[in-house]
Symmetry: C2
Subunit: 353 residues, 2 copies
Amino acid sequence: MPSQTEAVRRLGIDYPIIQGPFGGGISTVGLVSAVSNRGGLGSFGAHIVAPEEIGVLRKEIGAATSAPFALNLWVSDHDPGGLHLSQEEFDRYFPIFEPYFEELGLEKPEPPELYHYRFEEQAEALLEARPPVFSFVFGVPSAKVLAECKQRGIVTAGAATTIAEAEALEAAGVDLIVATGFEAGGHRPSFLAPAEESLFGTLALTQIIERRVKVAVIAAGGIVDGRGVHAALTLGAQAAQIGTAFLACDESGTTDAHRALLHGDAILETALSRSFTGRLARVIPNRLYDELLPRAAELPPFPVQGWFVSRIKAAAVAANRSDLITLYSGQIAPNLKHRNVPDLMDALLQDLS
Amino acid sequence: MPSQTEAVRRLGIDYPIIQGPFGGGISTVGLVSAVSNRGGLGSFGAHIVAPEEIGVLRKEIGAATSAPFALNLWVSDHDPGGLHLSQEEFDRYFPIFEPYFEELGLEKPEPPELYHYRFEEQAEALLEARPPVFSFVFGVPSAKVLAECKQRGIVTAGAATTIAEAEALEAAGVDLIVATGFEAGGHRPSFLAPAEESLFGTLALTQIIERRVKVAVIAAGGIVDGRGVHAALTLGAQAAQIGTAFLACDESGTTDAHRALLHGDAILETALSRSFTGRLARVIPNRLYDELLPRAAELPPFPVQGWFVSRIKAAAVAANRSDLITLYSGQIAPNLKHRNVPDLMDALLQDLS
């Protein structure tokens, strides 16, 4: 199995293994550096990091590893109606969330100035910070940003959920395309058509994109162990992106309750929902999922929905509760085996050798 | 790559390649025998064949090939409300279809005695006909039927779309499990939970089922060439079931218009819909799909919906039209290459050698 692919060389890593970036505060410097120090590519989901903090983050990761790593941003930072709310709109949405705020002992919040940082400012800060790899989801950065990456030697990787998205990324000159199959946990990073209409299985998507574009393809979704990595390479991918298996490691920033569910004996079923942030994501259904499902039509757009839920989550996380947090998970969770990065990387590398 | 798997030996075939069974009149003796004669397993979708015709069909296939082949049935033959209709109910549903009947010059039909043959009678006839392999979807046959298969030396293969379905098939003593991923064309053969809640990608489903059950697993969905077969075997499958690539061959019973679309240069997008038979199936959207989509709530249950649409289809097929037929297709269609079974089998076997 030729695991020393062009993409591996380009990324400057030892093995064709990329840790999927996690948003929502569950990426950690410890996780990213643990993966990168073992020869994979660690990734930090920085879309919730303020522009002025991105340089600091980059330095923290750089202090923990001398190996390449990725910072990940969300190109599209809001959906229609999700950029600004009037106080009246804010007050109209709040009753949906009020019972949870009350249950968790939280006051009604003040509307923030921004519900999400602006991508352009984050990208500016990222260019300044010059991480080895800039990976992104939900769109294609401007030609100016991509040209700056090229000039500064930052490798770029964009996520595609359809053929058209892969072709758009290739046309823009992005270095690597992450073919993100339906099985993957977390957000479906679709940007040309609604996510609900952009659902390809990883097996099909990897092969189709690999045949349609010249850019190197990375397969994401449904990969948890060495045989999954082998299968991805067999299908024409040059590396495999692994999310849930790293999320379930002690080094990730999620809660013990979430980790216990991921490793649990109960047969896991995941579902796609817009209830958590306003954008479609794969999660383990819990009480918050069940209760918000019938109210889908009333929920505010991204990122407003995510802003409200993140307040609920913060209090629930503090209480190590799993009923009111977002339980991201890929479909492959039933096959999880390892509880920390060294064990997981050892197993993956043993299979690859 | 160990392509001489236990499942291949059990089936008595030469290569780990199974042609997916097609319902709706698009299976042909020529297709099945062409695949079996080349060392794969041809499969005939016999769920639309009358019990008294199943023995005849079995003899026709047996005359065309001395190699093993499968007859396929649908275990569950109706959904609630789909077994019998009163004349009043029939008349209430007809206006949905009336414009198409008029456009195609068809009279209003008389209600049939049965909208679908009864599975128990078909199974009885199949046992009598004794095909080498009995494959089935949409459920688990009774213990009596399965015991008869064992006694008569008929190998059994059942389709699973979830972990629970695979476990039910294993518990019943079925010989082989076809892990049918989300990418696959045609019907989602779910039987324990709604098909919409039973959507796993092939990459994830194959690995999960393989780890949960002891029975040999066959991967289906998203496989079109030798690298797909290799990937399936890498993931732990003992054979790969290939549907759309055989459907697109001249030997299948579909229309030239459908074949042209499958091979077309236009980027194919498929979608899941209940509009064609009342059960969820993956198709290429066309006019019938677009027009029935907003009327989903008014459509009759399976198999009544399929009965009405099959009348429309028959007239549309006669006119080689693609706007009013069911354009089954898997997600992998953009990667189709071959136009007949010898070319397709040659390419697959070259990759496997």
